[in-house]
Symmetry: D3
Subunit: 300 residues, 6 copies
């Protein structure tokens, strides 16, 4: 990265190395940040409109109002990205006046809106595509929607940090799969979680999960391939006895899950339907996604 | 404040204006920050050991390990403060490697440990001491301990932000008083909440609240004055029909609560027991606390 | 109303002004009353059979047995009504023997069955059709089905009274929209609540709501117009980000909801689909319903 | 009752036979009524101040405002009662304007405040003192405080009616003892429920019960007799294995509970501690209470 | 039964009278046993593969590993059965080493795997087919899936034993129908529970029930007969107001439910749809099932 | 053990090797077994009366009636034991008639009552006294009291088996510490769990645990040593930040807990208060208990 990436921060483009957040920012003080993330395929941001729409829905619900609209936001995103880069948006209510030394809580506090890029570190995820992911259910639970609705993509995520501490005791490479307060399977901290049973793809009901845009992509592909796609609550028993399981997420699209709490799912190998779905996705975007993650093809 | 305050950040003291957090910091990315806050009386940090001990308990539970110990932390705190300043400590797991562009999640990631001061903006709270605080119970609930234990002082606080959005519809000056999932009264986003009934001070059970150090100070003072101090679950009915209610918190010690959901508590005026307790506290620290907040005495 | 309306009460028709309930009636003592309500269009009671059937289902579940059957009940209803009148049925277990002074709880206690009419006060609801309804989610929750099933139309409604006290602090004209114990959206005290998202009408699952007959009418009309009608749990986030929302209820059929907790729904104006549905309903009954409520047409 | 009793209703005293409630009253329409009940001993109303204070607390919480104050209310109560009479107070928000035919919801709606007496039908309860009460736990649950707080004495009691339907299938004389949503024992529809274990009287925690004035009387007597009186959650197991159990309530003060779900409690006979407590209560009021209920003494 | 039945136990076939379990077996010590049950029609085990597959799914989830595979298990089942016999499989983790006197918990502990038969005691169930079953909802609740998932067919069933104690107080012939913690209808201890409403068969959602193989047979038959088969949560109200209800279970396939908590379901007689479904099932297996249970035909 | 131990089973004493349970026994079929366990010190059964009383309380609650009384039970226990032996009692409702081939559910079914001994395998527990116990909180939860009350010592324990499967992924030597549905700490499958904080011993509230007799012994010793013994709900945070933790249980009396979820408790070594308490217990029974478990003294 010889030439430094630019970051959009509070109305300005500046070099990444000088893009900082005040220690008094509500992002730091309250964790009251909403966010979104999009990635490129062949240099083009994928479903950018969907990501930005969801970001603005999160803003609306949390009443944090960006000073620019969705169109301008998309323009900035497109300006910042290049091949294999992902773009991150986040916004917080702005600086916390009391700490910042101001005399009062200013009525016209400016939100801290930031857009930055990062290269997709495929090598991190390459093992997911060969061995598959191991998910573990910790004793920590997903925050219920009556506290913070998981449908907003937000960064008040201490429970995920705590969940990971427990999960990594079982397997340092494992990924936390949190249950909700009733014991239903929800999602991981960075992806949606789906199972395959009797030829159908089954997705947790919308109540306890983020409605992922990659999840929707998979639902669309299932529709095209005439694979039933069902939303309903399910539990660990269903995962243990599923035929396959996989994650969906923006950075690496999909990854096979081959173990839960140490037990193999299906035959413990990446599944047939997974392969079919990621291949179909690759056709949509003109890339062999699995090969890209495994580093077998030039990025793009 | 002609001379700029210093901030301790990741092992260095630097001027506040240049104390920044990377946009990739886990404080921003995860809201996975633990914190604490102490204030001075007459230039001395009050119960600093208690605050720093609690901070290290939060660290231990969240497995975020400061690079310096409690003694050195207290030395830095003392070095930074002056009259009427409060000191804030926070720590996050450090920079989020994936976003920061590194090749992997470094094993020896350095936590972001920051200590900074801020002047106590008493004028903000002066109305609390004349009219009393109005608390409102929003529909948003306190995060349950099985997700994030309220006993850790942390900054994953989106639910408080959301609660305030609802509360301010009723009264822009009102303070959110969240109920837990079972409808018990818990705390506000910045203070503990106590009621007085039949001559006893009643405090929510420890399950759903931060064990405040100001709360403990009040419990100690109650012990000295032979006022019963009881811990048990209570509900909005008990607040509506209490004789008094008040907040306890580090910045302004205590404040009377005179209304809940628009209904007066007791006769709707700051209570007699409140006055007695804050006077006793003032004697402990050699300051008329209420007068200080109301701006009637020189700070100190 | 020069000529006084008649009321059916315990087997007799009497003038409304002399139709009273004993202070010892279980309706007063226990709130153990089940009820139903039907209205006329052009002088004819609409879906009277459905209303009376539901009333008898409530009676069956609560084991309060009317002394007359559904057919005779419908005859009485038809006898009582005229243009723009609604008819109310209610029944309680009868007089509470202990208070009434009797020696014991009589085995053959007669239920207090009453049928009365009232003119539809359209002017009250006219603002709903111009500005739309503002719904607010109070901290009070819907009673769960394991205590009193919301599928029985009953009058033990203190929780609605309490909910309204909180809601009216936000906006004296607002309508309470209670959440269930898990934070799902349920209904208002007098109507069902529906949202429109991606072209589909979405209705809370049957678990926590009354199965309204107006709701069923809307479901039927959706079927005819090939608009998807989906039952599933949803939360406040879904309402905030819905395209439209509306109420369904017997007295005024439907009303647009344009705000929730102070936030606009969609563009904050009555929706396109709402207009389409109420127009279709009007065609069914030969009346411009919105015009009737706005007082623009003669009642009928 | 040769001479008819008087009833106070909306500011007037009138004969009981003409004291009626409109069918449009909120008492009937919403079940939104709060109430209280006091009895005489030797012609004097017992702890009237406590009952009236609790009634005004219920009013305050529900925001139904009586037009007269506690003092005048007590005067009316005293005027109405004679030997062995109990006095009932209730209040509802008043007539429901929409049904009553008014053009709008009148801002100055008058609450319906009623005070009436009734003779204590001791013969109904005599079997309680010989065989003891049989309590049964139905599948219906106590309404949780976040819907309607049991600390308000209110008449939205459909869940009690439903509970009784199930209980009477087991034993037509049995009394429903509802569990809360977590399975803790709460109270019966008309009394508090206490157990005796290891020499201590144990009372459910205040969260899920009405704080009965008879319960407080028993607590006071326990204090005088140096019998430990403990508040804590308990479950059916504790009742099955208790040494004794009893009810406390205004009309008959106390009654022994000798069976739960068909199983004997202790040896299945009224207990020793019960006898001791009711005797001590009798001394307080100068009456042999058990003998009065059993009809062995002249009322008074 | 002149010739004694054989039992498969830990790898051996032995006469039933000598097939015993050690008092130290985990089946006895922990109740940690998983099980399944299949029956014959005309001498052939019905859907044996489905039953054995489910048994192996239960084993997988509980990590109790049979020493033989599904094929061999099916061979043994077939070898053991004759006309009208049902076959039971169960497995426990094996002997509890501490109690058995061994020095430690042996790593290669052998599971106790047993397969035995029993004649179907149709006379027990004959009244179900003439009068119908009476179900009662006790106060005891179904164990939630986050403790023990009801999808595993296991024998930790103390809650069912306790439920029956309460149910039999209402009617010694009644069958317990447990609610889940949210008050949804689940299943009985030995069968699934379905209702018929508006021409559709409604089944509780999979979360709180065993996915019965007889239930699946009924779902298949509904598909063939074009009867809608719907999965969703329902409550007691829905049962009280259903048109029909019935049980599905391996031993007697189906039985009509005609009463719940003493109230008739529909007209209180076995339903029309029930008759249609069991007739269709009979055609599948070449037996008049109802007649067989009623003893009107020779078994087979 | 040259001479075989005797076992009491259904009224007879027989050699352990021939003491078997029918495969049709309710212990196997339902897991509906209640149990208790007592141990000897110096050849005498310790607090046998307490254990047998608790056993009979469990029987009473579950309505499984032993054919012999507590006195005779104690006589048999005493007859069976010798040095270092523990005695186990269990009872099930008896043989399951349907499986056993009988024509019906016999009214006078005999319960299966068994009393047997086993040597205390101290070597298994010796590491607990040197390194301390590691407890892990799995995602599986304690069964709530409204399903099966933990106050009955019963053997429907599949949830403990499942909990252990997860716990052993973290550490094969670790012990499961289940949380209740609200996230409170409860107990392990074989012992109570206590923490020490600020010089007080803290015990989970009685709602979610077995009231252990060893727990009561510790409470008594605390009373003698003037160490506060407090019952209240606590959470994992409290354990992580406790000064000490330990188990109490009949077989080895007490054991120090030094880690939870991989984190050290206190300094990670067996605690000072633990040593004091077990020493005091040893004085009560005339044995150095820790030395006995570590195998340093002859058993006795």
């Amino acid at each position: 990265m010889s030439q430094e990436n630019l970051v959009y921060l509070k109305g300005e483009l500046r070099p990444a190395s000088s893009a900082h957040i005040a220690i008094y920012d509500a992002a730091v003080v309250l964790g009251a940040t909403v966010t979104d993330l999009a990635r490129t395929f062949r240099g083009e941001l994928y479903r950018l409109q969907d990501h930005v729409d969801r970001f603005y829905r999160s803003c609306r619900y949390t009443r944090i109002e960006p000073r620019i609209g969705p169109e301008q936001t998309m323009d900035i995103c497109r300006e910042l990205v290049a091949n294999n880069l992902a773009v991150v948006l986040f916004i917080s209510p702005g600086e916390f006046a009391v700490y910042a030394g101001a005399a009062g809580m200013a009525g016209d506090q400016e939100p801290t809106f930031c857009i930055h890029t990062f290269p997709l570190p495929f090598s991190l995820w390459a093992p997911y595509f060969t061995e598959g992911v191991h998910v573990v259910t910790p004793s920590v639970r997903q925050v219920p929607p009556v506290c913070v609705d998981p449908k907003i993509k937000c960064r008040s995520r201490m429970h995920w940090w705590l969940a990971d501490q427990e999960t990594h005791l079982v397997d340092p490479q494992a990924v936390s799969l949190c249950l909700d307060l009733d014991g239903n399977v929800t999602e991981t901290s960075g992806s949606n979680f789906l199972i395959v049973s009797d030829g159908a793809v089954i997705c947790p009901s919308q109540r306890s999960i983020l409605r992922g845009i990659s999840l929707e992509t998979v639902a669309e592909i299932c529709g095209e391939l005439r694979i039933p796609f069902i939303e309903r609550d399910f539990q660990v028993y269903d995962v243990v006895n599923a035929d396959e399981a996989f994650l969906t997420t923006t950075p690496y699209c999909m990854a096979p899950v081959t173990r839960i709490n140490g037990l193999p799912i299906g035959d413990g190998l990446p599944g047939v339907l997974f392969a079919k779905l990621i291949a179909a996705w690759g056709e949509r975007v003109g890339i062999d996604i699995a090969a890209q993650v495994r580093g077998e093809v030039l990025s793009g």
